[in-house]
Symmetry: D2
Subunit: 304 residues, 4 copies
């Protein structure tokens, strides 16, 4: 398949969707991003890289980092301990809801809503002693981009507007579901979200998900079944309260972030990352979802 | 691949799980089934049939019928009208909950919870004039088994214990989300659930889902994208409030019923049907789920 | 105290509030009532009657009947059996919500939300064999108005638009919390709601609540503690999800109906009934609430 | 009426209920209190004081302080500003629930659940610059007991176990419903709860509620209508999710605390304070509620 031709056609298809939706405005650092941006990258399982549009422009990864923190917890502790503290069911509620958390006694429904990601970050902190630095080093290695860094302005801005996440963390702590102090967990969580990466960086770094657990250098990060299971959680829970819709339209495991990025996986074939800042009301990139929809239509590579 | 050998190994693996869980007891007709039964059938996309255990014993299809009513609505009206009346998101609540329905103004979250299936049945009734007979004839043709029939005792028993479903239907009617009279919709719904089929029958009849929309006789029931989308809804919503867990462990589109059956799809390859009456607390067959889990472990054929 | 002067002043005060709010429009029979009507009646514990405005015009009692069905159940069975099937806590949710009912396994929060009133009607049906006729005869006797009657058009209209109440009844039946068939319970419930009475009729018929259980003819309907307890339930639950607001502003036990009537009690002194069809968003008469607010301001007769 | 004889009889009646229920154990400082204690005090509106049992033993006022913080906010700002930030409806949920707060956008249902009391404390902090010291000085003056003090061990212990309250406060801050920094609001809230007072102290200090707003020294703290309205909120919301039950059984405005105290008001007559540490599952003193139930039975002084 001529990947470059496919990406070019996808980019042309997605163009009219750019500027649809709303750029995330809950923190100033995100609000300033131009809504006109669109980029897409594809990395084959042999490491070949293709791209179109603003595919080399860094943006804030935000919730896409949740995929990597889950993978790192599984890589550091090949056991099911984490699953006693967080579920793997779609939430049926917005990503930052407290309602479900109260009903289910402080156990978040899955690792990709904020509450679940806080638990995963807490676990990674316990396992490594420094959750955010561990992730940054991992992303540098897997992407091959040593310039990756936290964005201090974004992390500070998140903290300034972080009352909802603080509420989630204190609430889980009240149920005994955090191992580390609330301020520390929140801080590492915000640092992870603040990392800036391009579509190229993310599609490359996520390659282990398409390679059934093998890292960029060929070494094994995760067992094949572990990597498949992360893909399963991405498909059922990766796009907030639109996972069913996303599976229906696109049919690929994917994780979105409010920075406008979406990381998607075609198991055994490739990873994709698409970016456009305009979000729909559920927090997913409008042009990004349209691009992935068209990609699976062109290639027939939905998992279904 | 030697399908028969795989099924035999799967059946041996699943045997210790038989008798785990509880046989559905909310209606006497289901309660009488022996908990010792276990069967599994596999039908290749070319129509070759394999089986192990009680794979030719008929059982009550119950909620597996929801897959066929959705397919029939899509086949009779290739439009998105149904999706304005029912969502396609996982529910995050038990299959017969009214809470979500109230929050979302009478629009069920997906076609595989009871409320959603009532809407689909209502739509099929409008499109065909006789929803349950339409389904029965379709299942006879696709399975090649002309003996398929409604089980009057089961349908009557459901009606006798049908207050919860009546509540769901009246509740949706109060929001204007039913086109036909409540008693008629409920009756057709119960008739559909009461059909008795074996694993062989179900795996054969569901073959269009693995063949991207082609019927047993090679004619087209659904567009390829339509068939893929039913698979997507099965994966995200097909096993009640355990869809995330099922995707994680098994990784195949599947639809379960409280009769103990589970219909699963390996897109492009085959359909499977497994049956064992003991249910876990979420309503899915314990031995059935274990069997499918082992099947994907042996074959590597999870979609992820 | 010069009751007539007080009522005249209250009526003048309330006049600007008439036509505020919306006339109930969920059934045509209610929708046709002129929004301009306003009446108020006061009946002293010695039986003296005072009135102003449209105080002798009949209107649909609707939910005010819930007070009388509760009193009749307590009068027919001086035990706590009913309280095992319905609570006495404010609901915190709209009057016809199913959410709470699901959380609390089919036990309605109190006898004045629809679900609770259906249970009370069901109990009265069991105790008397004819719940609605029992109530009609009681109201005729206590009001001294032999012309009181069901309004067939209203009852039929309620039934035509009764899917929500049917859902509530079937839902409770699914939890085993109804003794009689759903259609029978609903029918008696609608008949009770359809009775037409004037402010004069209602204030007279409710006199036993101010007289600590003594009927119009001096005989005892309820023990003093029973009558006081009905007043307590009226104060905490009698005005839908505005009971706290009503206690704060008015400070009297009261029960409202969507016909625009409100029956209020000054324990040991008098009963009041006010009527004006325009309702606020919680279903209480706007001018009626304003009138009672002004009445307690003028007299100082809040219970607090 | 011979108050002393009534109190003695009430104390005898309540004795068998002492040791029923569970002493609050969420903080060690409360857990250490003996479950055998029982005291009751009555203060007439002319200031005469009566008591029985352990009526002069100090205990932790806990949520009873919520009554005084509301009164102080109303006394410092005779306007309705506070009611735009907190409702006055019964909650229908436990005292520390976050569910309702999410549904209603950060506006707590009433000032007597924890979230509402945090808002009231926040407002008092803004109005006075030192919410907890303002309350302590007020309670010293009204009780005439200059020895009243914060219990540092209790306040520290609350803070150590304060994740749920921190979650509530951060959650409301995320909706913009706090004026002061979260840590400051929580700290003042915990100090207020930690004050130690006896039944005598509390019944004396709460006298303004029975005197329609007049302080111990005869000066006016609140307008009569303001004092009545606090009584109304106490009756509908003062005993957590048992307010309806409490109104039904006791029929007096009352505010309970998990220290085992209950402050009750007979408007125009007297205040009562009862104390016994064993709590029912809703957080109200078992023997305390029984004592007040018997008091209104003996005197007939329910407000209904």
């Amino acid at each position: 398949m001529d990947y470059q031709a496919v990406l070019d056609e996808v980019a042309a298809y997605a163009r009219p969707f750019v500027r649809q939706g709303e750029v995330a405005d809950y923190i100033p650092a995100l609000e300033r991003v131009s809504p006109d941006r669109f980029g897409i990258a594809l990395v084959d399982i042999d490491g070949s890289v293709y791209g179109a549009g603003d595919w080399e422009t860094p943006f804030s990864v935000q919730s896409i980092s949740k995929t990597f923190s889950l993978a790192l917890v599984m890589a550091h502790a090949h056991d099911d301990e984490i699953w006693s503290r967080v579920g793997r069911e779609p939430s049926g509620t917005p990503f930052n809801s407290l309602v479900q958390l109260e009903w289910e006694n402080g156990i978040p429904r899955n690792p990709f809503i904020n509450a679940g990601a806080l638990v995963v970050t807490d676990r990674l902190q316990t396992l490594t002693g420094d959750a955010s630095t561990t992730m940054l080093h991992f992303l540098r290695e897997e992407s091959g981009n040593e310039d990756l860094a936290f964005d201090q302005a974004v992390a500070d801005s998140e903290a300034d507007h972080g009352d909802r996440n603080a509420a989630l963390a204190h609430f889980m702590a009240s149920f005994g579901n955090l191992e580390n102090p609330v301020p520390s967990v929140i801080e590492h969580y915000f640092w992870q979200c603040s990392i800036e990466m391009s579509c190229r960086d993310l599609a490359t770094a996520g390659g282990f998900l398409a390679r059934h657990g093998l890292r960029t250098d060929g070494s094994r990060l995760l067992e094949a079944r572990e990597a498949k299971r992360i893909n399963a959680v991405m498909l059922t829970c990766g796009t907030y309260d639109a996972a069913g819709e996303f599976a229906y339209r696109v049919g690929l495991p994917a994780k979105s972030g409010v920075g406008g990025g979406i990381l998607a996986v075609v198991p055994g074939r490739c990873t994709l990352c698409v970016w456009s800042p305009g979000l729909d009301r559920r927090g997913n990139s409008v042009a990004g979802a349209a691009a992935l929809d068209h990609f699976t239509t062109l290639t027939g590579w939905s998992v279904f």
